[in-house]
């Protein structure tokens, strides 16, 4: 099984409570570092970007506008008030896809300044 259903199932198994909204899969993640450490932050991935999951990981990480990152190449997200940030995941294919993705996003959230 692949695509956004597989993605949702895999991150649900990690207790991240995915839900679909306006072309995005939104879920909550708790970073261990940075300004948001210890609090659950909503984040999302575009369903379009999950068409080739798990072989091809998404590129853009969608975050609420009040989460600011130190260095970023960002664009407005389709979700009002949110931004999508360009972040390339490293070493894809070496770990279980859901775990690797959650770890990647947690790392990005660790960069949050606000």
């Amino acid at each position: 099984m692949g695509g956004h259903d597989a993605f949702a199932e895999q991150i649900a198994r990690l207790g991240l409570h995915p839900r679909g909204k306006a072309g995005l899969v939104i879920y909550g993640l708790e970073p261990v570092e940075g300004a948001r450490a210890g609090t659950v932050v909503d984040t999302a991935v575009a369903i379009d970007e999950l068409a080739r999951w798990p072989q091809v990981p998404p590129h853009w990480i969608h975050l609420p506008g009040d989460v600011t990152l130190a260095r970023t190449n960002s664009r407005p997200s389709p979700r009002p008030g949110w931004m999508m940030h360009s972040r390339q995941i490293a070493d894809w294919g070496r770990d279980a896809p859901g775990v690797a993705w959650a770890s990647h996003v947690r790392g990005v959230l660790g960069e949050a300044r606000t």
Partner: protein
């Protein structure tokens, strides 16, 4: 045009089937196996997944072996549960080469063909193993229904292992007689190998410096069926590496595949070479289907998306991909620090491009979205656009590395096939055997061939569409000059 059919399997599957079909007592035997179809543009291949060993009483072995209806039913139900088709295999222990069907064999397969298709939704595939040289022959029972059910004979059966072994159906692809232009080639590996190599359908993906060289050298060695796939046009900055391309090709807005075909034909030694060209991308659905019609693929592209598609196809559809590339490292002042080139064969039993670190799947999404060509995105990215250094004196080394892999894989000099991933270091002139293995999380190498049930990595390809539009939207003056140039080329080639 008649649709071609074939069968492919891995070496371990072949070995398991041989164990079942060639018992120590030398009697004929039979067994069942599951397959997934891999449907290309013009060819359907049955990809054998796993054997279903018979239980006691599933077949009656006397002078000839007979299968029971219970075994067929159990196999068809297992196939249906696994969304597979069913293969009925039997052996001719004293046989050698492609086997013709005897009347009783044909009657047996025909009698179950309708039932199996009814249960599985896929044609029964019949196979025969010749015991003396382990040659395979096969047919797909894919025509007609009821009493009119009929088989389409396969064109070949391919075994992908450390060496690629192909049994040819001479009725479809007769071995051509080697001609005087191929004497030195035939002297290198013999007539039998030459007859095998020249019949292979080879696809070269990418007609840049490496792809063009690969295509023309394959043509020179006598291959009869080569397809070259690329959507790009020849540009001024290609001329320092695209040997054979000229400023006239740039002026006439020639496609790279046009130039590659012209040069391949100029060098071809086959009596009737078929050099097909395609202006599709392997990332487009139609380009992918085209690829499935081939026995071997050369990957001569460096973009992550096409490489990801080819990497997957090698495992899901059992079409081995011979891959390689060059990296040139420069000092801060722009002078050369070092260069390395690598080559490897992507196939079951060997690590995939991701595991050998020749493909970063994290970059594929960028390529799919066209961001690697998006100046706005690149301006905001911290790492900038890849520089893409390459030089003609070294790109020929990549070509040589790929072709050496191909020869080892096809000819197995001294009995040694696929050598594994290799890296040549220019600064020290060392050749390294790279000790790569598949990682625990590998999504490709450990999987059974999925064929048409693979995860689809293809999609619309904006750059390919733009290039094709650019190639056709040329003023009538250029079109006229192209016609004259084609005429001149045809006359020159006719004289040579």
């Amino acid at each position: 045009m008649t649709r071609r059919t074939s069968v492919a399997m891995t070496g371990p599957t072949r070995d398991a089937l041989c164990d079942l079909l060639l018992p120590a007592d030398g009697q004929e035997d039979l067994c069942l196996a599951l397959y997934r179809p891999s449907t290309g543009q013009r060819r359907t291949t049955a990809l054998i997944r796993q054997p279903l060993a018979p239980h006691d009483g599933d077949r009656v072995v006397h002078s000839n072996v007979t299968v029971t209806a219970e075994y067929i039913l159990r196999g068809a139900e297992a196939a249906h549960a696994e969304q597979c088709g069913l293969v009925l295999l039997h052996s001719h222990p004293g046989g050698r080469g492609w086997q013709a069907m005897s009347g009783p064999d044909r009657d047996t397969e025909a009698s179950y063909a309708n039932l199996v298709r009814e249960i599985t939704g896929l044609p029964l595939v019949g196979m025969t193993l010749a015991g003396r040289d382990r040659s395979w022959s096969a047919r797909h029972w894919d025509r007609g229904v009821g009493p009119r059910v009929a088989a389409t004979e396969c064109t070949n059966v391919r075994v992908v292992d450390d060496r690629m072994t192909i049994t040819w159906n001479d009725g479809f692809d007769p071995a051509p007689a080697a001609n005087s232009r191929q004497n030195r080639t035939v002297n290198a590996w013999g007539e039998v190998v030459q007859a095998d190599l020249v019949r292979r359908r080879v696809l070269v993906v990418g007609a840049g410096s490496v792809g063009l060289d690969v295509a023309l050298r394959l043509a020179a060695s006598g291959l009869m069926h080569i397809t070259i796939m690329d959507f790009d046009l020849v540009e001024e900055h290609n001329l320092d590496r695209l040997v054979g391309a000229t400023r006239r090709d740039v002026a006439l807005r020639r496609s790279k595949v046009h130039v590659a075909r012209r040069e391949a034909l100029r060098n071809a030694t086959a009596a009737h070479p078929h050099i097909r060209i395609s202006d599709l991308s392997i990332c487009e659905p139609a380009g992918f289907l085209e690829a499935l019609d081939h026995d071997v693929i050369f990957c001569c592209v460096d973009r992550p998306w096409p490489r990801a598609v080819l990497n997957g196809l090698a495992y899901t559809d059992l079409v081995p991909v011979i891959d390689g590339g060059i990296a040139i490292d420069t000092h801060a002042d722009g002078t050369m620090r070092n260069s390395t080139w690598r080559s490897h064969i992507v196939r079951p039993g060997r690590p995939c491009m991701v595991c050998t670190r020749q493909l970063d799947m994290g970059q594929v999404a960028l390529d799919v979205q066209g961001l690697l060509d998006d100046p706005h995105y690149i301006a905001g990215a911290t790492r900038g656009r890849p520089v893409g250094q390459n030089v003609a004196p070294l790109s020929i080394s990549v070509t040589a590395a790929l072709l050496a892999q191909y020869v080892s894989f096809s000819v197995a000099p001294g009995g040694v096939g696929d050598p594994g991933p290799l890296q040549y270091v220019l600064s020290t002139h060392d050749l390294h055997h790279l000790d790569h293995t598949s990682t625990a999380g590998c999504l490709y190498e450990p999987a059974d061939p999925d064929g048409d049930r693979r995860q689809d990595l293809t999609g619309d390809h904006r750059a390919a569409e733009t290039a094709r539009a650019k190639a056709t939207a040329v003023p009538w003056r250029i079109k006229l000059r192209r016609k004259l140039d084609d005429l001149l080329t045809a006359m020159t080639q006719g004289r040579s």
